[in-house]
Amino acid sequence: MTQGIYLDNNATTMVSPAVVAVMLPFFTEQFGNPSSMHQFGNRVGLALKQARAQVQTLLGAEHDSEIVFTSCGTESDSTAILSALRAQPERKEIITTVVEHAAVLALCEQLEKEGYKIHRLKVDSRGRLDIHEYMDLLSDRVAIVSAMWANNESGTLFPVEEMADLARSAGVMFHTDAVQAVGKVPINLKDTCIDMLSLSGHKLHAPKGVGVLYLRRNTRFRPLLRGGHQERGRRAGTENTASIVALGKACEEAMQHMEYEKTAVRRMRDRLERGILAAVPHCFVTGDPNNRLPNTCNIAFEYIEGEAILLLLNKQGIAASSGSACTSGSLEPSHVMRAMGIPFTAAHGTVRFSLSRYNTMDEVDQVIRAVPPIVAQLRKLSPYWGENGPVTDPERAFAPAYA
């Protein structure tokens, strides 16, 4: 087997060769602590300054001091939400959505146990929010709104800029988890009312273990980690210098490839999607196809289960992911698919293909050829499937006793 075909870029991405090249010296001769007064530290300090500017450019932030380096997207999310609560102790409510990443949802669940009131905005069958429901919830009891820019499973985009406007006019802080959006859609934070934004390096061809919290100037803030004066005291702990330098380079490259993402990557995604839909009966695209990331395509294959599909794809060197319960080790199929009301026999069979600029049309064609026989093979085993199609009235024809 060669390297294989990697269509799981929403999970993580390949570190770009240019990014690897810029970070390597920081493991060897550029080992200094950026806080030190001497030349060893100073050189590294200057590299961090450059990286901060590169991130600032990609995000369209007004000041470079609005960029706070963290260890990951999850840390950025936790820092943002907990800061809003600590800075405004009289506010005991949070608005978020049912389809957030676990980094936000699990934190909110814990805060709920501690007495905070969590409003989780619902989504419709296409994964869209009801803005009126949102507007009705905004009040001076709300400490922060946290809504993702793009959904990791379906790629569906939320109107975070409008939501931030509404939050601002209600006097409520707004945070967005933009881990999936940064580098794939243009972002210009200085023209928005977004107060805080999380990003994660490894989703845009930087290494794992580095993230950013964008923190708008004058936003009231309380650090998660206190200690040294790193990141102007807003995130103590010696900087992960090699990874920060790498993230800076990755942001510069993302800026250069933004147009390519919107055009060439989208064309590959669209061809893949059309090819599979045309060749496989009884499957459909989940989420909002007209308003989503250019690289993501999530298809529900009815009457079969996602993990089985992934195992067979993997045997042919094709990497994707699934919202089935079995792939996560959790009990339920993906909360995102359930929130959209996808029927149980389809939610378990969702497969997410997420592309990057490193994919090729040739790879896409190989996947289009590989998928239909895999689906047919598994349907042959399925009790919901007859000779040439689903059994009549599948839910009734096969109604097992559930434990």
């Binding site: 009457y303 079969i304 289960e305 996602g306 993990e307 089985a308 195992l311 067979l312 045997k315 089935s324 319960a325 079995c326 792939t327 080790g329 959790s330 009990l331 199929p333 149980f344 026999t345 939610a347 378990h348 042959k380 085993l381 399925s382 009790p383 919901y384 096969f398 109604a399 097992p400 006793a401 559930y402 434990a403």
Partner: protein
């Protein structure tokens, strides 16, 4: 990625007996809510001999569900119905050289389908007596329902109790938060409050023992066990009793014996029974570590 055995992979990639058996006279249809998996098992049973002549499966499920179904059909072919009823989910897992703890329920589903099919053949109604909850302890594959029921049945109140009764939490200890949450919920229903620092309640009814009485009972329990150890040229002596911790010295052949910790467990069980309260038996060396 799951750590599937080669046998699991083999049965998934090349499943045996896929599809419905023609001329089937026994059908079992079951599902496991925990994974969204479902299985239809069809059998052709010889009415004369009660032997399963053929078996087939149709499965909606993940890799290990398909492998478990395939394994099940291979195991039961050629068995009589009575023999088939003795097949446990562990037999299915063993046939596949093991399953990851999160996937053991796939083997449970296999066993249930088999029972349902036999009941179907005999004209009985199969009733599922098994409820499965979220997996809490990954080391020993213990789920929430099991923990909850054990807490209720035995009036447990500490994480330590739960570990002693179900093994949950006895390994890496990462699930202790989850166990505490279940304890908090169940105790609240009973109008009690979970106290993380609380000691286990007295198991046996009766008067509280004085310190001296307590130590004498512990000594008595150990004396009763010593002949067993001496027979294997080992021995044990009581060193110290510190609250719930009983420190002993293993001597003779017990020193360095691979079974020493099992022996400690046995001593502990005996003392707990005699004393009517929970104590922990530890090697005396652990005492120095604590000091």
């Amino acid at each position: 990625m799951w750590d599937y055995s080669d046998k699991v992979k083999e049965h998934f990639f090349s499943p045996r007996n896929a599809g419905a058996v023609t001329g089937a006279n026994a059908v079992g249809e079951v599902g496991s809510l925990s994974c969204g998996d479902a299985l239809r098992l069809t059998l052709r049973v010889d009415p004369e001999t009660q032997i399963i002549k053929d078996a087939g499966f149709q499965t909606f499920g993940c890799g290990s569900a398909i492998a478990s179904s395939s394994a099940l059909t291979e195991i039961v072919k050629g068995m009589t119905l009575d023999q088939a009823l003795t097949v446990s989910n562990q037999d299915i897992a063993d046939f596949l050289d093991g399953l990851p703890p999160e996937k053991m329920h796939c083997s449970v589903m296999g066993r249930e389908a088999l029972q349902a099919a036999v009941a179907n053949y005999r004209g009985e109604v199969w009733k599922d007596d098994h409820e499965e909850g979220a997996l809490i302890c990954k080391c020993f594959a213990v789920d929430a329902v099991m923990i909850e029921e054990t807490i209720r049945a035995n009036a447990l109140s500490t994480v330590e109790d739960v570990t002693n009764y179900t093994k949950a939490g006895g390994g890496c200890s990462a699930c202790h938060e989850g166990v505490e949450e279940i304890l908090t919920r169940v105790l609240k229903e009973q109008g009690r409050v979970f106290d993380p620092t609380g000691a286990a309640p007295v198991l046996a009814k009766g008067k509280k023992l004085s310190n001296l009485q307590r130590i004498r009972r512990i000594e008595g329990a150990i004396e009763a066990i010593r002949p067993n150890l001496q027979r294997d040229r080992g021995d044990v002596e009581l060193v110290e009793v510190d609250g719930k911790n009983v420190y002993v010295n293993m001597t003779g052949a017990c020193v360095g014996c691979q079974m020493a910790s099992t022996t400690l467990d046995g001593i502990q069980q005996r003392i707990v029974e005699d004393l009517g309260e929970f104590v922990r038996v530890l090697p005396a060396s652990a005492m120095q570590h604590r000091a």
